[in-house]
């Protein structure tokens, strides 16, 4: 074989062509054969025929050849690509090893940004995107009136209304509900040793069937078991493990609850967390069937949850509910209560009820981490650009040696992909820690938080984010480098040349953009922080600090209501006297209800001698309290508190709050007036300040207080105001209670402040996260500013040296560098303020008592940015002023 001469090597100049190759190869074969035959004396035409005959089916062979050739070509291209990529990766690792500082900083920045993104994604995924943890959860609806000022009391229905609704509705497979007014530690587990508190929820018999929850052991309740009393219970999985040490034969055993034996019929699966869905932050230990017959006269107590028939829509359910609503009685015994629920039955998807309120906060959070990613990307882009300039020669040499532009861009992209993959992996680790921590924040009242985890979707998101980030920060430097003029770069010997300056303009632009984004984050975080502070400043109507509460057990059983009332009075008086005597205790009182709990209302008292049209009078929130409670809570009162003399036989007395007084007797003094409850006169002996009910942020409605000696309380919360830190009293209070009543369980001694903290915890949660992101954004922006200024100082070292040689002072040089820094910062802030104004408008619904134009926030943001910018400019400025003119001049 002779090698192809140079002039014949251009046959495939425009890339490989397998088809032509095959044809050429075969025609060579035939030609050679013909030549041979002719040499043996054949006639040319006969020789050709003979050659073709001996060859066989030329066409078929040719086709096979073309197919195989194309396949080989494809494989070869793929192989080349892989080889090149592997080469790129190896090269990347070599380059990064040469500059470990750069690699470490980039990976860290990326890990923080990507980690934050993963963590927030998994929160968003859990709360917003993923369906609720029930089978066919899209069929589940929550049925409640449109949101109004009054809370749970108007979001619930009476037993009669529930049964009628269930009977008459046509779109549901099942309608169920639970008793809405269960409080934590409402049961005592008295089986063995010291009584222990437990939290129980009463549910309608088919509650779990409608949700689609299967028992882990035993059976569920049946619908019949919500009529008449059945001493049975289902255990939550966690309680079964904790309290019964995962006893595998627990089903069928009887345990003692509140002194009565109750049979355990089953254990619920671990995957079912009632609190996470319906009562964020609460842990529920066991479930008992709700006795609808017994609760019939109790008013609105059950929530409604329905499972739609397959194919039925929420809109159909609404139509159906509007059809049924006018036929519902509040209580069938009272015909005038027919139609009370008209317009008050609105089905919404259960998911919306559980997480709908959080949607906006979550989206805001998502945008915040997205911004962080953008800032990190811009920052990295900037760092890479600086490096790219330093490496311009390397690329120019590679280009001159034949590397195509695409190949160089690919190499740069590979570098960013390697960086962002490392950042992603580290970020995933960070996110895992963050998520693990979040999932155990029982004190944050957010739904579904406990089911937070890293799943396949989150991993997919991680990969997506990492690749996207790599593209984001790798493409710009790559294109700029590849777009540059190779010759110019090769000639460009010093950092003072034109290419460098052009890059610097791009980098300055990037920094301005970065500062602007940080600005937006800072303003948003600032506004949320201001809102949070405002929320904390809200006058709750009581003093939460230095007060604590503990649930008190008592036994007031007696034959008649009056006997019960006086017995209860004596017990409470004893308890209060005993606890008051403890050192450090300032005031003690008992109430059956604490502020910021679920709402409850009894009836509609009417001010004596006044006529109101129905619906004008509020159903006030009810407290049943003892003397001393008002003082122990730190509620301000006008008139007098209840006394122990306000007993079952004396005249009926009540306290009302200022809001109620304004409704009943506008412009008059309510103290001394009389409120009628049916035929019963209630003397208003005092007016107290409005106490926030349900939420810190919401308003307050009417409230009424009854003395525990004249009304039946639904439990007793002992409230203690002390001059000491509340926790120090816990042991002595419990001991005192035990002395009076050996059955007193070791209930939690809860500082009142924790109730408030819990109520504001979602806001605190979001505020802290956004603030952390804003801090991160500020840090990254500072890094960006530092990078650009520092680089420009290095580049201008010669010019600075000359200026200093000509007499410029160090201070002069410093001022000039700082001025450059501040120019960048100001440009960024100007752009950022514009962006922030727009963004602030978007998040205005998340703010509390804070305008989206809040001037102090914007000023604070500006100040913070300027400080950080000045600081990040100061370091290079110091370096610039330290330049030794002679050295610099000599060095070039």
């Amino acid at each position: 074989m002779t090698p192809t001469p140079i002039w014949r090597r251009y046959a495939r100049m425009f890339g490989p062509d397998p088809a032509a190759d095959v044809k050429e190869e075969l025609s060579f074969h035939l030609q050679a054969k013909v030549d041979d035959l002719v040499a043996h004396g054949w006639q040319p035409q006969a020789a050709r025929d003979e050659a073709e005959r001996q060859f066989g089916d030329l066409h078929a062979v040719q086709n096979i050849g073309i197919r195989m050739g194309e396949k080989m070509e494809r494989n070869k291209r793929l192989g080349d690509y892989w080889t090149d990529s592997l080469h790129d990766v190896r090269y990347t690792f070599r380059t990064l090893r040469r500059d470990p500082g750069f690699a470490a900083i980039s990976v860290l920045i990326l890990a923080l940004a990507i980690g934050a993104n993963i963590a927030v994604f998994s929160v968003v995924n859990t709360l917003l995107l993923r369906p609720l943890p029930f089978p066919d959860s899209r069929q589940l609806v929550w049925i409640a009136p449109p949101p109004t000022a009054c809370g749970l009391s108007c979001a619930t229905y009476s037993a009669d209304a529930y049964e009628e609704f269930r009977e008459q509705s046509r779109v549901y497979q099942g309608v169920t509900g639970y008793m809405a007014f269960s409080t934590p530690d409402n049961m005592r587990f008295t089986g063995r040793g010291e009584p222990e508190p437990a939290t129980s929820f009463e549910v309608i018999g088919d509650f779990f069937q409608v949700l689609g929850v299967q028992p882990a052991m035993g059976r569920l309740f049946t619908q019949d078991e919500s009529r008449g009393s059945h001493p049975i219970a289902l255990l939550s999985n966690a309680y079964w493990r904790r309290q019964f040490a995962s006893d595998p034969s627990i089903v069928g055993k009887a345990v003692e609850l509140d002194g009565t034996p109750v049979t355990i019929v089953g254990v619920l699966p671990d995957s079912f967390d009632f609190g996470a869905v319906f009562s964020p932050g609460a842990k529920v230990d066991l479930f008992t069937p709700l006795d609808l017959n017994q609760e019939r006269d109790w008013g609105n107590i059950v929530t409604l949850i329905g499972r739609l028939k397959p194919g039925a829509t929420v809109a159909q359910a609404l139509d159906d509910a509007n059809r049924v609503a006018p036929n519902l009685y509040f209580n069938v015994k009272y015909p005038q209560t027919l139609g009370r629920y008209k317009g008050g039955l609105i089905p919404v998807p259960l998911k919306d009820y559980v997480t709908g309120k959080l949607r906006q906060s979550l989206i805001a959070l998502w945008c915040a981490v997205g911004t962080i990613l953008l800032i990190a990307g811009v920052n990295l882009s900037n760092l890479l650009l600086a490096r790219a300039v330093a490496r311009a020669k390397e690329f120019a040499v590679r280009g001159a040696l034949g590397a195509s532009r695409g190949r160089i861009v690919r190499q740069l992209l590979m570098e960013s992909l390697v960086l962002s993959s490392a950042g992603g992996a580290l970020g995933l680790g960070l996110a895992l820690m963050l998520i693990g921590w979040l999932a155990h924040q029982g004190s944050v009242a957010l739904p579904l938080l406990s089911s937070l985890r890293i799943d396949g979707q989150t991993l997919a998101w991680t990969i997506l984010v990492a690749v996207f980030t790599a593209m984001l920060f790798g493409l710009l430097p790559g294109l700029r480098i590849a777009g540059g003029n190779l010759q110019e770069m090769l000639k460009d010997s010093g950092p003072g040349a034109g290419m460098g300056r052009k890059h610097e303009r791009v980098r300055a632009g990037l920094v301005v953009f970065e500062v602007a984004l940080a600005c937006v984050l800072l303003v948003s975080a600032g506004l949320l922080l201001r809102s949070f502070v405002k929320v904390l400043d809200v006058d709750l109507g009581f003093q939460p600090d230095r007060a604590a509460s503990i649930k008190v057990e008592y036994d007031d059983s007696a034959p008649t209501e009056e006997a019960r009332q006086s017995k209860r009075g004596e017990i409470f008086q004893q308890v209060i006297a005993r606890v008051s005597a403890l050192p450090g205790v300032e005031a003690v009182g008992i109430s059956d209800y604490l502020p910021l709990g679920p709402n409850r209302e009894w009836d509609t008292p009417v001010p004596q001698g006044k006529i109101f049209s129905p619906g004008d009078l509020p159903d006030p929130l009810v407290y049943v309290i003892t003397p001393g409670f008002i003082r122990a809570m730190g509620i301000h009162i006008r008139g007098r508190d209840f006394t122990w003399a306000d007993g079952p036989h004396s005249e009926r007395v009540v306290l009302i709050n200022a809001s109620a007084a304004r409704v009943y007797w506008p412009g008059e003094d309510a103290v001394g007036k009389i409120l009628m409850r049916d035929k019963e006169e209630n003397h208003v002996v005092g007016v107290v300040d409005d106490v926030h009910e349900e939420t810190v942020e919401g308003g307050t409605g009417s409230q009424i207080y009854y003395p525990a000696m004249q009304q039946g309380p639904s439990g007793a919360q002992l409230v203690i105001r002390t001059s000491l830190p509340p926790a120090t009293l816990a042991a002595s209070v419990l001991r005192a209670l035990r002395e009076l009543n050996p059955n007193q369980p070791a209930a939690e001694f809860r500082p009142i402040q924790t109730i408030v903290d819990r109520a504001v915890s979602p806001r605190r949660f979001f505020m802290l996260l956004v603030a952390a992101f804003a801090g991160l954004g500020l840090l990254l922006a500072a890094l960006g500013i530092y990078g650009v200024i520092s680089y420009s100082v290095t580049r201008q070292a010669q010019a600075i040296g000359i200026r200093m040689a000509l007499g410029a002072t160090a201070g002069h040089v410093q001022r000039q560098v700082l001025a450059g820094t501040l120019r960048l910062a100001f440009a960024g802030m100007a752009l950022g303020t514009l962006l922030a104004l727009a963004v602030a408008k978007l998040i205005s619904s998340l703010l509390f008592a804070t305008s989206s134009w809040d001037l102090p926030t914007y000023l604070g943001m500006a100040l913070a940015l300027l400080l950080v910018a000045a600081l990040s400019g100061y370091i290079p400025a110091r370096r610039a002023s330290g330049v030794n003119p002679m050295e610099v001049l000599r060095s070039n």
Partner: protein, 119 residues
């Protein structure tokens, strides 16, 4: 040629091609000539069948192809044994020899099998 013979050929063609290339690169036509000559025209009927076999060997990496000039200055595709191909050839030859010896031994038998004593 009957079908059985053709099938037989397909299996052995690969190893014949590899053998043809042992002494240096050849183009397809030279490979056909080599096989035809040495087998006295027995083993190769249609010359076209050689090419798919060559290309298959190329895609498996047993041979390498390169364009060059033939003895009368025409552009021709030359095939060369790769290291893998050379190894493969050695292996095939060994297998073939063992196989042929076994077949020859059986066919050369002169008397029926005497039942062995069970030890």
């Amino acid at each position: 040629m009957d079908i059985a013979k053709l099938e037989f050929l397909r299996g052995t063609l690969d190893v014949l091609i590899l053998k043809a290339l042992v002494w240096g690169p050849l183009h397809g036509y030279a490979v056909t000539k080599f096989i035809r000559r040495l087998s006295d025209d027995v083993l190769l009927l249609e010359e076209g069948t050689l090419y798919p076999a060559l290309w298959r060997l190329e895609s498996k990496g047993l041979v390498d192809a390169e364009w060059g000039l033939s003895e009368n200055n025409r552009r021709a595709k030359f095939y060369r044994l790769t290291a893998v191909g050379r190894r493969q050839l050695r292996h095939e030859v060994r297998t073939w020899e063992a196989y042929a010896a076994a077949v020859a031994k059986v066919l050369g038998a002169t008397q029926p099998l005497v039942p062995e004593k069970i030890a």
